[in-house]
Symmetry: C2
Subunit: 218 residues, 2 copies
């Protein structure tokens, strides 16, 4: 049976809709009264694991799910051994360096050496500051990163920006973009190699955003 790891939260609705077009209907996970973490598809031929964003690559890498949908930001941060299959095009956002509006910093390289930078994405942040050769002290936070500069703990943050509203509401401004992120379909490399066509059919169908193999439909 095919198992698909889906991230709870912002990407869920679009993920379910893309899988539905490929013949796997997981719409039960969208029902507000659903409390199950393992949900069978309507046809009973597959099941979805409903997990947190950061856990999708883990379940796919360990082979408990053959496919998964997760943001590129998480894939960049975690570096788990999963195959990147399709850029799904939704869940647009970018990873950015942001500072206080009145800080006077216009580019990341303007930040004072050895200043503190708060982030949930410390691996991405470290890679970026290494590339621009600016030594900074990274402070790992798990949420509300915008409090870092507001409380004076950090000079800057590295965080995901979608509409930019959270930054504006907190008097912050993005000064440099690290990379652009969208939702990705990922797969377990071994499962894909041993696949007899079923996984490939689903991947092709999701890539084309329409049914490719009519017989896949329940």
């Amino acid at each position: 049976m095919i198992t698909v790891a889906l991230a709870k939260g912002a990407l869920l609705k679009d993920s379910v809709s893309r899988f539905a077009k490929a013949g796997l209907d997981f719409s039960t996970v969208l029902e507000s009264e659903n409390r199950q973490l393992m949900v069978p598809s309507l046809c009973g031929r597959a099941k979805a694991l409903l997990v947190r964003n950061g856990d999708v690559p883990v379940y796919v890498a360990y082979g408990q799910a053959q496919l998964g949908v997760v943001g590129f930001d998480v894939l960049r941060e975690q570096q788990m051994p999963v195959a990147h299959l399709v850029d799904l095009g939704f869940g647009d956002c970018h990873m950015a360096v942001a500072v206080k509006q009145n800080s006077g910093y216009l580019k990341a390289i303007d930040l004072p050496p050895h200043c503190r930078v708060a982030s949930k994405f410390t691996h991405c942040a470290r890679t970026f500051f290494n590339e621009i050769d600016l030594p900074v002290e990274l402070v790992h936070l798990t949420g509300s990163v915008e409090l870092g500069p507001i409380t004076g703990m950090a000079e800057a943050i590295v965080d995901l920006v979608a509409s930019g509203r959270t930054l504006r509401d907190n008097g912050l401004v993005a000064i440099e973009e690290l990379f652009y992120s969208t939702a990705r379909l990922v797969g377990n490399p071994l499962a894909l190699r041993l696949d007899r066509g079923e996984l490939q059919g689903i991947v092709e169908s999701i890539r084309a955003n329409r049914p490719v193999l009519p017989e896949l439909f329940c």
Copy 2:
């Protein structure tokens, strides 16, 4: 001005009530319409930072908050340099090793060497399995750890258990306790050393669970 880091979630209500008895009323943070992350006390003499559980020791260690309330489990996991001041007695739970009810394992040492153990608390788990000299492969998850054994990814989990209902609902059973956890009042060591009595007054009052210095009241 005194800044207090409070953890969102299960500990918040009791934390606010203990600070209220010590003369600092942060009840605004409990209002459902509150969206502020930095909330002044009613008397204006202090402010609360409303952050995620895991971020409380960070804000206290970096001195952005002089005091904080957080579970002992988080303190054990993170090992941040904060002073442990008062065991507040609420938020009882314990960190436990749990396995599938039908697994046949009665103690952690029964687990097969090199099996996988899923946890949000990988530092605590590593320390425990090192102590019992059992080599295991730790899989870090960020939520719904009980899915680990259910999907077959892990033989066991290390997780917080309060009522035990989540374990039962998922066909799991706790087989060994690592440690007992309650909410703790923690402080920034330097702030406590430089304190001219104000912090000490609040700490004493919270320890006694009643006003110690009447003049602290707003």
